[in-house]
Symmetry: C2
Subunit: 398 residues, 2 copies
């Protein structure tokens, strides 16, 4: 045994480093991005052979992007400068506002993620890096030293869609140790998203942990569904394999998901300690999820007391003849006759859906249907959806 | 209302495309990688300005890499060829064996992930793309059309480490609908890893789902701990913020984690429907996690009936005087006197820990301590650890 230990002691000098070689790919040697104390941010890339290195992201002023569908505001670009060691660097000229930002590098016209930054999030079909400039509302997006809820990926059966489907479920800190029942907030993603969207770019778990710890929100269960009715789960999480995601999914806005929604509610009520009544249920969604929330909440007017439309895609669907979309005005009247506790509409004043939301509000106004309205700057972007989530949650279940 | 709908109908033509613009970053227009029916694989990159595009990954024959610590086998490189549209392409000359592979591109010496492939996994401090060539054992790594368990991130309190800490917990399909109690398998990561490692590159949830569906494994709860005793959770999941990960964490092999381990078992036994006895508990780990499993199982000889050492880092720790590491032989004798149901050692014949594992087996042999031994090719790599997991699980709780 002594001989064995001696041999092992000899082995020790290489071993610790070598074990770390389980990462075959090496460890980055530069820091990027570096968020400085004064909230300026430095980006760095080791690329001695490159001719032009740029960074693009939503921390930069927007630029006009021409597309076949018109001009859109897109993230701007900034040039990095190469030092004598081949390291390219760019520091923002002024502090950035507190926010969760996304960015990528562009090296000689080729978009690439930052190899020094492991924090990457998929949005629809592309992966970008993220960083957080702390302070103010952005502190709600950070993991803080507060009790943390549980985040689960769990499958439910949908007889109407003929498949098992995946949910992301947040249960608040203390859920496992209590015998209490909790209200439930159903939180829906937009087109191209899935059951992962709100817990990733949406930072829903962090926002809930923080608002609950600050006693600004009631402890609640949050259920993040997959609103693509043709899909069992997010890309890569189904037997279709590791296929590229698509934004051209069938059955996203054809009434299927709305029709099937009570199956989700039944599953949650039968598998979690919920308060199974209208006064303890909320539904909200972004973009297509706002469309779904609008239609689900009026189709089942006894189900949800709190409704949130975040940059909602308020529109009829192309040529779809689902019963869900019939008798729009009649169902809306029925819903408001039952006096929902909160009907909340939020949109950015640059959103391409701004006018449609305005028109919808005029209908509500002309019928004296009460709702709250929250307007921000900017367009159809995650920054707004995180803001709306932090505004909406404190209003629930009061 | 009619006017409103007419306005919306007009809006429709741009809206669907525009909603998808919530992904500011565009959708990849080429397929990469493309796994062909004959199991050759094509990689593609749109990089008209590049001079040299290579792909590197564990699907290529290994090459010697020189490091300050000696020569290691690392992934090889292959050159892509540019077509007249600026798309670079490489197809493997022969079919690849079924496996989950990792790769990145190298563009003019700059490593970058494949922008057409959203499937990326962090291993320690770097992010690589993955793909699966189906067939044989690799089908256990894929999501198949079988019942799926629930995967949760849940926090437990560790009084001995003075913090709340994050676990990944797998509960088998049917757990939520049954009243049964389940055996528990504790599964530990290696150095630089964390509570996410086994459910990401380790494909633990897929392997469990598939083996249970095939009735090759008993339904069981799997608990994936964080073995870095200084750390609450994986990088980015703590109040330290989005910092770069490090392989130089303190308190990884100093006895702290081993000492605290009963707190994990207590938490699981008090929060899940477990069978709280030795015959229904297993522990295994890779590399440092094998080291932890070795020491935890002998420190608490009444806790685990099944022990798995996967490429275990069998070594004393540098200058550490933890009681955990004292009386090695005496504790080992006590453990084997109590006749564990299975003591299972697996290693690759090119692993730098191969000799150390051999020496350890000699100690077991010379004491007539029974164990099973499973040897593969290759070295200290995830391919082996996934294989070991698929071999070990069917042996449990029989």
């Amino acid at each position: 045994m002594k001989k064995f230990l001696a041999l092992l002691a000899l082995l020790m000098f290489v071993s610790i480093s070598a074990i770390a070689q389980q990462a075959l790919w090496g460890v980055p040697t530069i820091i990027s991005p570096e968020v400085h104390k004064d909230k300026t941010v430095t980006f760095r890339l080791n690329a001695p052979n490159a001719d032009l290195v740029q960074v693009t992201g939503d921390f930069l002023p927007t630029e006009k992007i021409k597309t076949p569908f018109g001009e859109f505001d897109g993230p701007g670009y900034a040039d990095l400068k190469k030092n004598d060691k081949g390291i390219w660097e760019y520091t923002t000229p002024s502090p950035l506002a507190p926010e969760l930002y996304s960015y990528t590098f562009v090296v000689d016209s080729l978009k690439m993620t930052d190899p020094s930054n492991i924090y990457q999030i998929r949005d629809v079909a592309s992966v970008t890096n993220i960083f957080i400039v702390p302070g103010e509302r952005a502190d709600l997006y950070s993991v803080n030293n507060v009790p943390h809820g549980t985040l689960s990926k769990i499958w439910y059966n949908s007889p109407s869609l003929g498949m098992n489907r995946r949910l992301t479920v947040y249960t608040p800190a203390g859920y496992e140790d209590s015998k209490e029942s909790y209200p439930v907030f159903y939180l829906l993603h937009g087109m191209g998203g899935d059951e992962n969207a709100w817990s990733e770019l949406g930072r829903a778990a962090q926002i809930l942990d923080n608002l609950i710890a600050q006693e600004k929100a009631k402890p609640m269960i949050v259920v993040m569904t997959n609103g693509n009715a043709s899909q069992e789960a997010a890309p890569g999480e189904t037997s279709a394999g590791l296929l590229p995601p698509t934004t051209q999914l069938p059955k996203t806005m054809d009434g299927s998901f709305e029709t099937s929604f009570p199956e989700v509610v039944d599953f949650i009520d039968s598998h979690y300690r919920t308060i199974p009544q209208k006064s303890a249920r909320a539904i909200a969604g972004l973009s297509m999820g706002g469309f779904h929330s609008l239609h689900i909440s009026k189709e089942y007017p006894d189900m949800f007391d709190y409704v949130g439309l975040f940059s909602a895609a308020i529109m009829p669907n192309q040529g779809v003849q689902s019963p869900i979309y019939s008798d729009f005005e009649g169902k809306l009247k029925k819903q408001f006759d039952k006096k929902p506790a909160l009907y909340w509409i939020a949109i950015g004043n640059k959103d391409f859906l701004y006018d449609a939301n305005n028109q919808f509000r005029k209908i509500l106004d002309s019928n004296n249907y009460p709702y709250e309205y929250f307007e921000t700057g900017d367009g159809h972007i995650w920054k707004n959806w995180r803001i709306y989530l932090t505004e909406f949650i404190p209003k629930l279940f009061k």
